[in-house]
């Protein structure tokens, strides 16, 4: 097979300030969505395990809806359909909300599984020590639950960062949006997407190192597991 194509990475490399800015926006979107999505998920998991029945039903409907429709469609829904109610917002805001809503549903199920893995006796022991109900949830249930499901939860965070490439479909200024703009100006599509795929790969590695560091700092205490 002869390759009649000369690779030209100059145009891509010259655009490094744009790529750096796009990378930063992707990182910023992902980290913000991770923190907010985690908060949603903790509330959702609490509602599913100890909330009243109507609330449990509502959370279940939310989870099933989000998990059985594509992220791209959710994104279009937030970006195009919500302004029909008079809510005007930027592509960035719509992208962030879509990411939070998406992660919230997946992470709720993961954290719920973690909470259900806590033995009943441990919760009763917490109550017997005269801890308040919210203290029991915070220290006796949530923290060990997070430790138990940490690998599943952090790989969900990384999946979210990778699927954030999809927000380029509404031009949210993220890394893939920058790449799409560059390719329409330089026509060096293949070179650009190779470089950008490499940046995502590096980000995925950096995120997994960050999560390993957080584990060591916050959750690496001895237990029976």
């Amino acid at each position: 097979m002869s390759l009649n194509y000369s690779f030209q990475f100059d145009a891509v490399l010259e655009a490094w300030p744009l790529l750096a800015k796009g990378t930063w926006i992707t990182v910023q979107l992902s980290l913000t969505a991770t923190v907010l999505g985690l908060a949603v998920a903790i509330l959702g998991a609490w509602a599913k395990t100890s909330g009243p029945a109507p609330l449990r039903w509502l959370v279940n409907a939310y989870i099933e809806l989000v998990r059985n429709t594509p992220f791209l469609v959710q994104l279009f829904f937030f970006f195009f359909a919500l302004p029909a109610f008079g809510l005007r917002w930027s592509a960035y805001a719509a992208a962030l909300v879509a990411m939070v809503v998406n992660l919230g549903a997946y992470a709720t199920e993961i954290i719920r599984a973690g909470i259900e893995s806590i033995p009943r006796g441990q919760i009763e022991a917490g109550l017997a020590l005269n801890l308040k109900r919210h203290q029991v949830f915070r220290y006796v249930i949530l923290k060990p639950a997070l430790k138990a499901i940490y690998p599943a939860l952090t790989s969900q965070f990384i999946l979210l960062m990778l699927s954030s490439a999809v927000v380029s479909a509404i031009s949210a200024d993220d890394l893939t949006s920058v790449a799409a703009n560059l390719q329409s100006q330089t026509f060096r599509s293949f070179e650009i997407y190779i470089v950008v795929a490499g940046i995502y790969l590096a980000l995925a590695l950096a995120f997994s190192l960050l999560f390993r560091f957080i584990y060591g700092a916050a959750l690496d205490y001895p237990d029976r597991r």
Binding site: N68, P70, Q74, F76, F77, V166, A197, L201, A204
Partner: protein, 217 residues
């Protein structure tokens, strides 16, 4: 200006056959690729293990959308003419191979070591050992997560819309551009995906619970 009515809904619904065709293609191709990845990842050859590990790392560590772009814009570089349908199919097959391969590797490794050793002791060579001893047992554990992963495959096909392939999501965009009724248009699109995916999710959940109950006994 058009308003959203039955013909518009039917246009989107008709595009579901392309979503289904793309999903079937990705799943069948991904199952073959995934089996190769799983076998390579559990093989005794360090080269096969290394190649498969790099393949999985690359396809699990980069966005599916970028993989799609690379196939779509990369094929002309190699001198191949490619249309969005083939590009989406190839990218989805490669991506599904990596993810199913990793799921199945876990299932193969969950088969107790003693089974492998017993097969070895009976003088079974590699093919017979995998075909008659290890894979049938791994298949039973793999069924529930595989059905669950099919939901991800169906949802993943929506990205083909971005390179202009008219499946359900792209059909929704076309209708939305003509009617400017995004709420009902994307609501309908979401409903179609939900009808395709929810039964698979329920089935996967039921299989998982039955398996857990069987293991608890």
């Amino acid at each position: 200006m058009r308003t959203f009515g039955t013909p518009e809904f039917l246009f989107i619904l008709a595009a579901a056959r392309w979503t289904l065709a793309l999903s079937a293609m990705a799943f069948v191709g991904g199952a073959i690729g995934g089996l190769l990845v799983a076998l390579a990842r559990t093989s005794e050859s360090a080269v096969a293990r290394g190649v498969a590990t790099v393949f999985v790392q690359v396809f699990q560590g980069t966005p599916l959308l970028l993989q799609l772009f690379l196939v779509f814009f990369g094929a002309p570089v190699l001198g191949w003419d490619i249309n969005p349908w083939i590009a989406a199919g190839v990218a989805l097959i490669l991506n599904t191979s990596a993810f199913l391969g990793e799921i199945w590797r876990g299932c193969i490794q969950a088969i107790p070591r003693g089974q492998w050793e017993a097969a070895d002791a009976l003088g079974l060579h590699y093919v017979a050992r995998m075909r008659d001893v290890v894979l049938p047992q791994a298949f039973r554990i793999a069924l529930a997560p595989t059905v669950g992963y099919m939901v991800q495959v169906v949802k993943g096909t929506s990205l083909a819309a971005i390179i202009g392939f008219t499946e359900v999501t792209r059909a929704g965009q076309i209708i939305n551009n003509a009617t400017f009724q995004p709420l009902i248009v994307f609501g309908s699109v979401a409903a179609i995906y939900f009808v395709l995916c929810w039964p698979l999710s329920l089935l996967a959940g039921r299989m998982e619970r039955r398996q857990a109950a069987a293991l608890a006994r």
